[in-house]
Symmetry: C2
Subunit: 343 residues, 2 copies
Amino acid sequence: MTNRQTNEFPSVSELGEQGILDAMLPLLATRQATLGPGDDAGALKVEGGEVIVSVDTLVENQDFRLSWPSGFKHRAYDVGWKSIAQNVSDINAMGGVPTGAVVSLSLPGDLSVEWVKDFAAGVAAAVESLGASEMAIVGGDLGRSTEISITTTVLGECRYGKVLRSGARTGDLIAVAGRLGSAGAGLAVLESSKQWQSWNRSVRRLVDAQCRPEPPLASGPRAAEAGATSMMDISDGLLRDAERLAKSSKVNFNFNSRDLEAFKARLEPASLWLKQDSLSWVLEGGEDFGLLATFPAAAEIPEEFAVIGEVQHQPGRRSLTKIDGEVVNGSHGFDHFKTRRTI
Amino acid sequence: MTNRQTNEFPSVSELGEQGILDAMLPLLATRQATLGPGDDAGALKVEGGEVIVSVDTLVENQDFRLSWPSGFKHRAYDVGWKSIAQNVSDINAMGGVPTGAVVSLSLPGDLSVEWVKDFAAGVAAAVESLGASEMAIVGGDLGRSTEISITTTVLGECRYGKVLRSGARTGDLIAVAGRLGSAGAGLAVLESSKQWQSWNRSVRRLVDAQCRPEPPLASGPRAAEAGATSMMDISDGLLRDAERLAKSSKVNFNFNSRDLEAFKARLEPASLWLKQDSLSWVLEGGEDFGLLATFPAAAEIPEEFAVIGEVQHQPGRRSLTKIDGEVVNGSHGFDHFKTRRTI
């Protein structure tokens, strides 16, 4: 617990609940909600007659570490950023716009209040920088635990209809928006025993992609408007998530290796540094929160989407994911219960 | 960790994420949602143009124990029940009807899958028994942690307008619906060293009130329809919560001791058993999730509400809570950071 605490600042248990709220809430008051924090519930206007909702939890030592093998100290700011990023990404993945959020914080009593303020600053910065300009933090919950745990629930609206996982059709083009492999490469750097002081700027940029991921928030609604037939965000790696999308749609996915190779360039600094193959990060790296979508071949695909393959008929009982026609197994990489997923 | 695990059943890490979902989801499929679990986000219809939202977290050894000093083993079923009860209560407290929920579970790998199934059964039973007949579980999140932590977010709609904490006016009557002190008495029984095998039926009923609280779900909307000027749920004890309501409304609250005494009868079995004063549970016991509301004197107060006092003018700078005109200090009892509250 020593790396949590600094002696200069009071701990959350010393300051007490009202003190924590007084320190945090001004940092979070970014937008006007119908009813913000302070009552039994928050309230949000819903214009389209339907609200979409998604929840994700970040747990210390499971989803982030306060201190990495590389010696790098993880800022609370980055934890706050990621708690927003991964949740607005789920709304984006359905073609929606995030309109509100509630945040539940479970904190050890010895945690410094500065940690909590830095966390709140990261939440506010992510809302601002990612362009979630309609999103208000309308409430939350605060309590004690032995490990830091943050659960964020985001609400949103789909103004061009909901893009589900189940709509991909044979002949559709498969496309991605956002990064592929950067956060995975950054994670490998953080977990390496090579110390952080020796990172160059390109390596550092990959670590930033892991710590402060940037889901392409404008692209979800744009894809919906352009007629995307299916979509999801890539949180557990391209192959694994493609397998899910193909399965939901009862189709096969075929990727073109040449299109995937194009994503390697950005990862080369980490590849050289760690002597690891950068293609594995492209295929299996998670947490960039890019979008994986399918479009009818005749659609005008928004320009930030790169076409990487084609949806094929599924003749057998199981959906297959292929590269250049060769079946790959998307199940390697992550154990689901080690990572998190929306149920 | 030994009291978590039974050797007869696989642990959550043995079964894996899909196995856990397969075991849980059928138990939770109580209602039809626009879009249920399985995609990036769930979806809910919103008829009134506004949604209200509230979140609460339950953490092992903070908000519940798997094993109590009385030797009583806490069922996962009861944890599931309470995770729903305390959240629908927040919606109720605003005069709303719960329409949907998402549940995030953080679980130790060695936890038995039977625990998870029992939890899900408790969630479903609470939705059913408490009368949350319009509420669908539309999604969730599943991941690992070292301590059990459950965060439930509930959405709802206020069909008679939102009843806030800030609307109490001088001359209004103060009334409560639901239990007062039962859950607090039950907690004292659980935490006592007197072993559970010797509980009689009346004592056991108080323990049930703590483990499976029953917020009066029909009463929130009914109070709103009857013109309640302010309302909140009593989660941290009457005095503490009254102090909050009075402060939000910038008024004083004056309770009649005779009206409060009436709530003692139900608590006598525990009072005799533990040799503790039952009035302290009435005044300071939390987690019954009854409603504390104010009504204009001319209102037709719904019959399940018991009038316990009157709203008075606040001449000074601070709101005061009184009993028979004598100022009481609502701040004793709980430390806020030990319990949880909505921010």
